[in-house]
Symmetry: none
Subunit: 239 residues, 2 copies
């Protein structure tokens, strides 16, 4: 478990929220949960019911009476708080905190993240045990993140920096000559249908369509499809 941060819930109240936090963790590949003095004891059937597929996170949870016991083995703690307090500690947003966590973990250090209980969050005494603060940049006029949502965002940020960003696969882009051939086909069919009327406007209208087709992000498949559609659209007229 040294390769990822520990998620440490401090005096959580509702079992449902502990279960939901376990799911949020596992969604982003985190499995090391620790609990400080859960109000309703441990294990908690409501937590298990809510965790469904993520019960193994609960099963592995370490439970302790205080932060020191729960965070055993950790050498760096982040405290999540609704707003930074004047404690002369570094304050991170979730992205910056997880970047710092990755760097420390890469150096063999062991990182934990403290989350407060539902009613009042972390007490000043809890925050005092952390080396740094994390604050989610919520709308100051409506800042109602619950425990599991806060765990979700931190877990998301952990994984986000750990996986390669999605690279768009190179699409099967049609080469210029295919676009050219289709644009000519289109123009010819419209010409045959009498679209380019009156004659003095034909040049401009054709140019407009040339620009149109060259602006479109067509794949080779698209071009084949459109050739076929165009032939069919005019077929019975020709027949």
């Amino acid at each position: 478990m040294t390769s990822q941060p520990s998620i440490i819930l401090v005096r959580p109240q509702l079992g449902e929220n502990i279960g939901a936090a376990a799911r949020a963790m596992l969604n982003f590949g985190l499995t090391d949960m620790r609990l400080v003095a859960p109000r309703d004891g441990w294990p908690n059937p409501k937590a298990t019911a809510m965790a469904s597929g993520a019960t193994r996170v609960l099963d592995g949870a370490r439970v302790a009476d205080d932060i020191a016991g729960a965070a055993e083995g950790c050498d760096y703690l982040f405290a999540t708080t609704a707003r930074p307090r004047d404690l002369e500690k570094p304050v991170h947003d979730p992205e910056g905190a997880m970047r710092a966590a990755r760097e420390m973990i890469a150096q063999g250090r062991r990182v934990g993240i403290l989350f407060g209980g539902e009613r009042a969050g972390l007490a000043n005494e809890d925050v005092a045990r952390a080396q740094a603060i994390v604050t989610v940049p919520v709308n100051p006029e409506f800042a109602s993140l619950n425990l599991a949502q806060c765990v979700l965002l931190m877990s998301y940020e952990w994984r986000r920096g750990a996986v390669e960003p999605l690279e768009a696969e190179a699409p099967d882009v049609a080469p210029v000559e295919d676009i050219e051939r289709f644009a000519r086909h289109w123009e010819q069919r419209l010409e045959d249908s009498g679209f380019f009327h009156p004659p003095e406007k034909a040049g401009h209208m054709k140019l407009t369509f040339r620009n149109f087709w060259s602006r479109m992000p067509l794949t080779r498949n698209d071009v084949q499809l459109m050739h076929g559609a165009l032939r069919q659209l005019v077929r019975r007229r020709d027949g």
Copy 2:
């Protein structure tokens, strides 16, 4: 509401989740919610109860029978899906999608994000109406994000990079309902011409064209031009 993306819930089932989505939005400053055919009708007291401080998001929600109606005014739609499907559309992670959204909105464009219902997510026909796909990089072995969590992550990414929108002239981008109308026109003309043959392949072929037209960067002028061209191409056949 042109300065932020619209959150469009497609056939959501539980009122609680609609309420939770409203809270998640407002946590990060988003207020433009739209609903496509909510299963239990609208308004929904369970949504209101869950939204608590965010009921104004619900009060302002536009409700419609289909995506075209709900997305009225939008000219670019992202579809959130659990995994990218082979649709030759750009695939973004949430950060990249919201970066792209900010750029478009800064240019005066109007962006919507489609979220599927709880049970099955977005249908292929829904995704076919979007210009691009967003996928949250979850743990592939445990990917159980619920609707409100998905809305939370997208809203978080929106706010995380939020900058003041620039004043810029809106390009003449065709709104979703215009694309929808043209795609139907195109489909009808091909139907009349006998293109969708054999019948067992018709559904797939129609979906391919829906995807085609929603991928194309069409302006209002383009759409008018194409309506005219299409009418003319088949005119003599009809006569």
